[in-house]
């Protein structure tokens, strides 16, 4: 019960309304696969560790980042390529990937996410014994 209360309270905060939460940027990503897993790199300029939320749920990976841009009060926009401060994108994960073992790293606005393949999908080297 307390959670639903909190949500309503947050919804009413005027600050959140002004930020137009429905607008978000779809970040550009590189995704590559090697023998042991998958690596995703995403451009999230302005996002800090605290503002980044990565979730793996029902074989869906979602990235949600909030950019913190230091702007002076009373600033008037002259030109803007970027009109939102939130990045959102999700991907479906195939079942051989182990989302629980994902590791994330954020540096200079670039997220690197490594998701290993489950053990049974890892390449195994079969040793040949001398006969």
């Amino acid at each position: 019960m307390s959670t639903s209360k909190e949500i309503t309270k947050q919804d009413l905060q005027p600050q959140q309304r002004r930020e137009l939460p429905q607008r978000s940027i779809r970040p550009n990503v590189d995704i590559l696969e090697d023998e042991t897993g998958i690596t995703l790199r995403a451009d999230l300029p302005g996002v800090t560790k605290q503002g980044l939320d990565i979730q793996v749920d029902n074989e869906t990976l979602s990235i949600d980042g909030k950019a913190e841009i230091d702007t002076p009060e009373a600033m008037q926009a002259l030109y803007a390529d970027v009109c939102a401060t939130r990045y959102q994108r999700s991907f479906s994960l195939s079942s051989e990937l182990d989302g629980d073992k994902a590791e994330a790293n954020l540096k200079d606005g670039v997220l690197s996410l490594r998701i290993p393949k489950r053990e049974q999908y890892q390449p195994r080297k079969i040793e040949i014994r001398n006969g």
Binding site: D30, D43, P45, I69, T71, P72, V110
Partner: protein, 147 residues
Amino acid sequence: MLPRIHGFDSGLFNEFRRLEQEMDQLFGAGFWPNTMRSVANDNIPPINVGVTPEQVDLYLFAAGVNPEELDISINDNRLSIKGERHVERDDGLNYFRKERYDGAFHKVVTLPDDVDADKVEARYDNGVLHIVIQRRESSKPRQITVQ
């Protein structure tokens, strides 16, 4: 592997893109009909510019750039930002998506006439370059007292 649609590594392509961007700056974006190149003409890296009576704030959204490799200069009211991003890519691996831009960029921004080219500060934080240029005193709004 997905076909390479961006092809930022082509020098000629970069030149075309730069030309197109410069034309956009001269005539305003949308002057040219969209060409096939518009796939990549995504104003990279994106910028925002804002003004207050005291200063002009410019934000360049360039994640993963080494700030030491940025070349920022100001000439009168034209601010130029040159830089390069090195995206490590291993061609031997299987890429499903290659959307992140790689290579050199050059942005030239015309600022309001009253900026003071001697008072410029730049910081690079979390992938955003923030440049603050002070405006000259004379241009600030002044209160005039009636005697």
